[in-house]
């Protein structure tokens, strides 16, 4: 889908809006993080509603979405995640609920609202965002200027190319369940042996706060400080890391790596978040309490199967969208104002 039909013109970018797809999953060998959306499950759902391929690129935004003018004859869009759309067009103003496909016409002014639960959501468009793929993906990795629009987050005045697509029936989903109160499941290790059983017990039984130190690279947590068996065991000779790895540096405060996280690291990893739960974790808002429970690899694989089945069930349940013009925009959003990208989750060489 490289043919573009036109573009949208960004009039307000939002605090951190980037082009994302599933990322680059084959280049960690060369030190290149995968990047890609923090919400691969929602990207899949949003694309399914639009009839796009599952991996079509979308705009991922944090806290608040972008505003833009449609400069393409016809397109469809859907917010994958808890944010609403406001459209000012020839027919007047409309408000569109999350998970509801809407037709947009040239000249429409569109505002994607605030994320009302958690911090991250996606705007999916018919035909996908059609920026040129770099190293097999359109995902933005701003640290190295890869992918997306000139390798960076969106700015006012940007023209974001939109792929061409055949208009489909407009579909919608009932609100997509995204429980924030259930424990995040982890597989212990690879360096759980740097911690006593008592410390692992604390990690698995206590709650941790999501701090404001969160970005696409990682998420710093605070809670009971986790102690290594010895001071020497607070570092390792660097080895491979992945999104979801829970690093514990000498401070004892865990850092969970996310999509833009580095490929190798020198802190012991007490556990690694399972694939089925990583999107849920990556979306959590600062101030949220999170707890962890340990599962086996086998259980994690079963959980991923169930997660995939849930996604298929959701897609199958999509019904015809009824555009409701008078949905109340929530006036009071959760006001967890993140200070933007924070540099506290990575190591420096």
């Amino acid at each position: 889908m490289t043919a573009t039909d036109g573009h949208i013109r960004i009039s307000a970018a939002g605090p951190l809006t980037t082009v994302q797809d599933f990322g680059r999953l084959h280049l960690r060998r060369l030190g290149i993080p995968s990047a890609g959306t923090l919400c691969p499950d929602w990207l899949q759902l949003g694309n399914a509603l639009l009839g796009n391929p599952a991996d079509a690129a979308a705009l991922e935004f944090r806290l608040m979405g972008p505003s833009f003018t449609v400069e393409v004859d016809d397109m469809q869009a859907v917010v994958a995640g808890p944010a609403e759309l406001r459209i000012d067009g020839a027919d007047g103003a409309r408000r569109i609920k999350p998970w509801t496909v809407v037709k947009l016409s040239r000249g429409d002014d569109v505002t994607v609202g605030s994320v009302s639960r958690g911090t991250v959501a996606l705007l999916c468009v018919s035909g996908g965002v059609a920026t040129p793929p770099v190293l097999g993906s359109r995902a933005t990795y701003s640290r190295a200027g890869l992918g997306g629009l000139q390798g960076r987050s969106l700015q006012i005045g940007d023209l974001v190319p939109i792929g061409s697509a055949i208009p489909k029936d407009t579909l919608s989903l009932p609100d997509v369940d995204d429980p924030t109160d259930q424990p995040i499941r982890v597989i212990l290790g690879p360096q759980a042996d740097h911690f006593s059983n008592e410390q692992i017990g604390i990690f698995l039984s206590e709650s941790f706060f999501v701090t404001t130190n969160v970005d696409r690279m990682g998420m710093r947590l605070e809670g009971p400080k986790l102690k290594h068996r010895t001071a020497a065991l607070s570092e390792i000779v660097s080895d491979g890391i992945v999104p979801g790895a829970v690093q514990v540096p000498g401070t004892g405060n865990p850092i969970v790596l996310l999509a833009d996280g580095q490929t190798v690291g020198g802190y012991p990893k007490i556990a690694t978040v399972i694939s089925a739960d990583l999107p849920r974790l990556g979306r959590l808002a600062p101030g949220t309490l999170v707890s962890f429970s340990a599962v086996t690899v086998r259980e994690a694989e079963d959980a991923l199967e169930r997660h995939q089945t849930w996604l298929r069930t959701m897609i199958a349940s999509a019904g015809s969208a009824i555009e409701i013009g008078d949905v109340d925009l929530r006036l009071l959003y959760e006001t967890n104002l993140v200070s933007g990208a924070v540099n506290g989750t990575e190591e420096t060489e």
């Binding site: 080895d239 086998r298 420096t348």
Partner: protein, 251 residues
Amino acid sequence: MNGRIVSDMRFLSLGDRALTVEYASGFDPQARKAVIALDEAIREAREAGSLSGILDVAPTFRSLTVHYDPLQINQASLKASLMDLARPSSSEREPNTTLWRLPVCYGGSFGPDLPDLVADTGLSEADVIELHSSIEVSVHMLGFLPGFAFMGDIAEPLRKPRRQEPRLRVPPGSVAVADRLTAIYPWESPGGWHLIGACPVPLFFAEEAKPTLFEPGDRVRFEPVTKSQFEGLKQQLNRAELSPQSFRKTK
């Protein structure tokens, strides 16, 4: 492969989509050899069409992490397949024959930390440069930044812990040392290594299928050049009159 290394070998789950094969917890030349041999064995097996579901294989100093698609293969069967490959059935391979000879302009504004290194070692500047450029180093792993290669081991007298205060901006192309390692910064970035020179050859090419100059296992030797040679090479590289690949020598 050495018996100790085999008995120390461990499979570590890195979540449900990556598996690390670890040969040692510290720096260890035998572990390095085992990592290179396993990397090569996996490459051969994949080329022969087995081990489907693997997405990426990332070697480090002492271990190798296999990234896979859990919807295609489960960890238990991946582990079983890797177990066979990780055993020292075949002779020790010498698989990678790539040698890079890379020009480095040492000292001056390119190497602000060279005087400290000279003072610390009690050697002359010429001797320090000679020590850094006379040893062939290996690319142990890439990480930190795309294309950033951790190379080693450098000569004993040059080993020095990282700076207490990392610099906020290290210029791209800077050649640096820290502990037993040396590296070239592919990008401007913060950095805590000691800067001793600069290399004009670019290390990252976003438009190419293989985007980095280095591959894990490559060998590298540095060649001292003068400032005017450096500028000349840089110009030729910028104008594409010289290809970065021209610095590749096959042993």
